[in-house]
Point group: none
Chain length 225, copies 2
DNA sequence: AGGGGGCTTCAGGTTCCTCTCAGCGTCACT
DNA sequence: AGTGACGCTGAGAGGAACCTGAAGCCCCCT
């Protein structure tokens, strides 16, 4: 899951990014409206957190421009409560939810999750993926193998999520990198192998199949016996 | 999938080529406009990445010339943001999308994929090709012969894919070479024979017919029994 | 300040692809 | 039937891709 934060208060942006990263999202941050619009237009984000007061281009205009261009990515607006801007206006321009500053971090996370869940429903994707005896609950971020819960770290979960969403298909290492790590990541792609390795250990060895030269594939339901 | 990059900044061209190759595309690079037009005219590319500022012939003119000649290959234009050239003009001349430098690599890949997807849908290409008792699933990278799965390596799969996509037609050795390896490949063309040989062994001897002096042909549905 | 957990890098080891080569078979044409 | 061109295929070297244990770093919690 990739999130884009468009927020010019750098301290706030940074702390949000940090927290959400810890939740297992891949988070990109930009500090001005024009740049935000540009990045969001690429369509590779699952949600955009958009401040209203922005240099370059204000949040309403970014939001309106995105909708005008046909993007239906969920948008969570951040409004200051000083009354200069109006919540209703945000919703009018096509935002899906708004949050009035100051807000608690917990609330933000809850809203983010709610929006992601709603978006998922809209497109017919269930938040819970069942796959043989593997059950991945993307909303609750829990994984079960048979009756046993398996504890995964944020990154482990994110990698598994990618594989589960496209179960049966080959997912390339590059695609996993793109979705799980953010665009500033310049590290070793080997990191994907490391995570696959630990996932295999924590889950079951045969579950994630390596397709040499192509990527990884979550095996479709193992032959029932 | 074959991509052509027309870009005179060699460093940029090289790094794009490297990345896209890693994504599994066969990538060719040329550094001037005239050469780009010439290669693109051959019609063997699935997408063209076209810089605007080019020696020989600028990107707009290449693009316009291609469209004038009736080619509908997707074109992704690269524009510098210095304002000398205008994005709209790129789209006017028939480009399908544009990207303003500097851009992140991830963005480029996303756009490339989007364009290829759009094109693919239009032509109704399915990810699964069925051909008699041979089934080739390009998304999962799996091949079935009857009920049995056949394990293929990356190159074997790529060769078979070429034959399957054009089932019933003769595909020349040169075409296979170009699609599976890229045009910079300087090795022995015999390599194609080697791979056809192993494919026959792994699949069924009669499936791939040699057409002497012309190439190979995947036989249309074998006589049902 | 110390400890722990998660993230990342690194390096050694392993697997198994890829490509080349060479000899032989097969085909088409005379 | 002979001949040359073309195609087939087994063997092996070399290397790419992948796996995984270990260790360092950073952040957070105690």
């Amino acid at each position: 899951m990739r999130l884009l934060i468009v927020e010019d208060e750098k301290r706030l942006a940074l702390s949000l990014a940090k927290g959400l990263t810890a939740e297992g999202y891949a988070v990109d941050v930009v500090h001005d409206g024009r740049e935000g619009l540009y990045r969001a237009s690429e369509g590779s984000y699952d949600l955009v957190i958009l401040d209203i007061m922005l240099p370059g281009m204000n949040g309403y205009r970014v939001c309106a421009a995105l909708r005008a261009a046909g993007h239906d990515v969920p948008i969570l607006m951040l409004t200051a409560k000083d009354g200069e801007y109006d919540e209703a206006e945000g919703l009018d321009t096509g935002a899906d939810d708004y949050l009035t500053k100051p807000f608690s971090y917990v609330v933000l996370v809850a809203r983010v999750k709610a929006l992601l869940r709603r978006g998922g429903q809209g497109t017919g994707a269930s938040p819970v993926h069942v796959h043989g005896d593997l059950k991945v609950d993307t909303a609750a971020r829990r994984v079960f193998l048979g009756d046993d819960e398996v504890t995964l770290t944020a990154k482990e979960f994110a990698v598994l999520e990618q594989l589960v969403v496209r179960a049966g298909e080959v997912v390339s290492k590059a695609e996993i990198l793109e979705h799980v790590w953010d665009f500033a990541y310049e590290g070793d792609p080997n990191i994907v192998e490391v995570y696959v390795s630990t996932l295999r250990r924590k889950l079951r060895a045969g579950l994630i199949r390596t397709v040499r030269g192509a990527g990884y594939r979550l095996e479709r339901v193992e032959a029932a016996r």
